[in-house]
């Protein structure tokens, strides 16, 4: 009897110890993000979670520079050292979804039921083959900046920015004064994803897309860009250097109009001219609105032992009050939340003249792809842009050749 009691006691103690261990053992979810200090809300979001729910599991962050993310993530997948959650630039999201790196959260999202609240383009970018692999965490797009002072100087109405391609070309010509080192327009045709990003809206405005890139509308789009450079209305430098460099031409008063996104707004902090922002123009005879969809998606790694916890965290991150706190209070409204209902809340983003334009434009923003071979597709497009802008080929030739190379990706 006494012996049985002792055994029982021992078992109880052991159970106690082990259950104690399993409670004490911290569950830590690793989240990789690409935002340098101050650029995004991740440190604050992790802190908020850890303070409130740190006893369930903790979120730990690792910053990976954006240029290194795909390399780091693929190496990690190769060696089995990948994180539990990761932010990926939206055009590159599909290639990781395709290899099964991300957990399929379609059923969870259906139950959750908030999908219809997101910007259409943003939501499309987390889908691959009709399944959902993540949530958009950040949405941005391109619009047209213009210098009102310069408009006045050449006799243009500063409250009537160009609305069509022909107006855009006409204004660009009138605003150009090469002797004064002033170009009519600046955009980004860089040999990188940024070049493709800026060019795609134009071919979509022309009624074409990457799977029929030599359609007449796309050829006209490339012809328009080529005209800008050939006639000196845009600097030949647009083909080298990213969007930041391209925009500095506008910010420094060397270009009267600029195609760019909210990430360059800081360059205008000290602008000594009056500027405006408007939707990208449309092609006169087609009238289709389109812009590029930028931003990041948050994916849960399929290999993570904590996919349930990760989903819990992601859900929390997208709760109304958490979103408002992070996007509005922490970031000061500098980033647009991916949900239309939050972005359109009264008294917030839409009251801001600039952000309201971007939110308006976001409705027409289309994702790049989603296609697992996006980088290859993008490289073909970049080459075609360069060939035409530098006069090596006509817009038609450049896009015909691109179409031949792209055919293999759209079987």
């Amino acid at each position: 009897m006494k012996r049985t009691f002792t055994v029982m006691l021992a078992i109880c103690l052991l159970v106690g110890i082990f259950s104690g261990v399993s409670v004490a053992e911290d569950v830590v979810l690793e989240l990789w993000h690409v935002f340098p200090e101050g650029a995004h809300f991740w440190p604050q979001a992790a802190e908020m979670w850890n303070e409130k729910y740190g006893d369930q599991f903790r979120i730990e962050l690792r910053f990976v520079p954006q240029g290194d993310l795909r390399r780091e993530l693929s190496t990690a997948l190769m060696t089995g050292t990948e994180p539990d959650l990761v932010t990926v630039d939206n055009p590159h999201f599909a290639s990781f979804a395709e290899i099964g790196a991300f957990a399929d959260i379609t059923d969870k999202v259906e139950q959750w039921g908030k999908a219809p609240l997101y910007f259409e383009g943003s939501w499309e970018s987390v889908m691959y083959n009709d399944r959902v692999y993540g949530l958009p965490i950040d949405s941005n797009t391109l619009a047209l900046f213009y210098n009102k002072d310069m408009f006045r100087e050449v006799g243009l109405d500063p409250e009537k920015p160009p609305t069509t391609w022909s107006e855009l070309a006409e204004y660009a010509e009138r605003l150009t004064d090469v002797a004064q080192n002033r170009r009519g327009i600046t955009f980004c045709a860089d040999r990188s994803e940024e070049g493709t990003f800026q060019f795609l809206p134009f071919i979509q405005q022309g009624g074409a897309d990457i799977d029929n890139i030599n359609a007449p509308g796309a050829v006209e789009a490339l012809a328009l860009w080529t005209t800008f450079v050939k006639n000196g209305w845009a600097s030949p430098e647009v083909i080298s250097g990213g969007q930041q460099a391209s925009f500095s031409m506008f910010a420094e008063g060397h270009a009267a109009m600029a195609i760019n996104g909210p990430w360059v707004l800081y360059q205008l902090d000290d602008a000594d001219f009056e500027w405006g922002l408007t939707l990208l123009p449309v092609k006169d005879d087609v009238g289709i609105r389109s812009s590029a969809l930028g931003g990041f998606n948050l994916g849960i790694l399929d290999s993570s032992p904590y996919t349930e916890q990760a989903w819990e965290f992601v859900q929390w991150l997208h709760e109304d009050d958490v979103m408002i706190e992070l996007y509005w209070n922490v970031l000061g409204g500098a980033r647009i939340p991916p949900r239309t209902d939050i972005a359109n809340l009264p008294g917030k983003w839409i009251e801001d003249e600039v952000m309201a334009v971007f939110i308006d434009q976001l409705q027409y923003a289309k994702p790049r792809g989603p296609h697992p071979q996006w980088p290859q597709i993008s490289a073909v497009i970049q080459t075609a842009i360069h060939e035409s802008l530098t006069g090596i080929k006509t817009p038609q030739q450049a896009l015909d050749d691109a179409a031949v190379q792209l055919a293999q990706f759209f079987k």
Partner: protein, 297 residues
């Protein structure tokens, strides 16, 4: 066990750290890269326990890619152009700075400073200098009335190669100058004294005494320079990313694009191994050159 073999074993032990170091940091990556070049290593296969072997498939697709001959030609033009001007200007500066004059050391140090800079900085500065609209070079040329319109140093596909070569020449001059100055100071003075007595002209002295005596140094400079230039990546990446179109896409840039843009690690490894073989050929030439001539010929 004789004294000699015991001594050998002692030497072996002393060399062990170096051998381990070389094996881990030089041999292993080379072998791994070679293995990778035989595998179908893409994003789709990296999570498999063993990436499928495809034999020489990656080499075949690299060699049949239309960008291969293009990037090969760009590599050769970039290397030949850079080496020629680096060497000529470097040699001229070495001859000039070999003379004793005030501020000699200052000038020499200043020139060498350029060599200390990181390629990324050199590339960034040169892409500013060569900017079509706002670059200093175009500004000077315009002010001097040499050109009317800005030259698209890095934006015109027909000129961009010259733009990047200019930057790389500037970057490579100190290296050439430094090694050649070293060679010059090792030359025997009595030959020149004898030549003076015979009344040879400075030009004759250069072609019939300096050049032949400098042969080993020149060989070393050219070979090392070639190997360094063949693998230049960062400078080009910062300046043009291989553009415009593919005007400055050399093999290292293309290999990087295959590996880290397209994530076709197998083809990227194959492309870099082709470059590796080319460099090995130059290295062997270099070694052969010196085993025949000897260091102190």
């Amino acid at each position: 066990m004789g004294f000699e073999s015991r001594n050998n074993r002692f030497y072996m032990k002393m060399m062990l750290p170096a051998i381990v170091f070389l094996a881990a940091l030089v041999v292993y990556p080379i072998v791994y890269n070679f293995r990778l070049s035989l595998q179908d290593a893409t994003l789709r296969t990296i999570r498999l326990p063993e990436m499928p072997f495809v034999g020489l498939g990656n080499y075949a697709s690299v060699l049949s890619n239309p960008l291969f001959p293009v990037s090969m030609a760009r590599t050769l033009v970039f290397t030949a152009g850079s080496i020629f001007f680096q060497f000529v200007i470097g040699f001229a500066l070495a001859l000039f700075l070999f003379r004793q004059f005030p501020l000699n050391k200052f000038v020499r140090t200043t020139i060498i400073m350029g060599w200390v800079l990181a390629p990324i900085i050199v590339g960034t500065v040169w892409s500013w200098l060569l900017n079509t609209d706002h670059g200093l070079i175009n500004y000077l040329l315009k002010t001097a009335g040499i050109i009317g319109q800005g030259i698209g140093w890095l934006t015109d596909p027909n000129i961009a190669m010259r733009g990047v070569i200019i930057a790389n020449v500037w970057f490579g001059i100190p290296f050439n100058m430094l090694l050649l100055t070293g060679g010059l100071s090792a030359l025997p003075t009595d030959v020149y004294e004898a030549a003076d007595i015979d009344g040879t002209s400075p030009l004759q002295k250069f072609f019939f005494i300096t050049l032949p005596l400098m042969k080993p140094t020149i060989g070393a400079v050219l070979m090392l320079g070639t190997i360094y230039t063949l693998r230049v990546f960062d400078l080009l990446w910062v300046m043009t990313k291989g553009g415009p179109v593919n005007a400055t896409t050399t093999l290292p840039l293309w290999s990087y694009q295959l590996s880290f843009d397209f994530f076709n690690l197998g083809e990227g490894a194959a492309a870099s191994n082709i470059l590796f073989v080319i460099m090995i050929v130059f290295t062997l030439l270099y070694i052969k050159f010196f085993s025949e001539e000897g260091w102190d010929a």
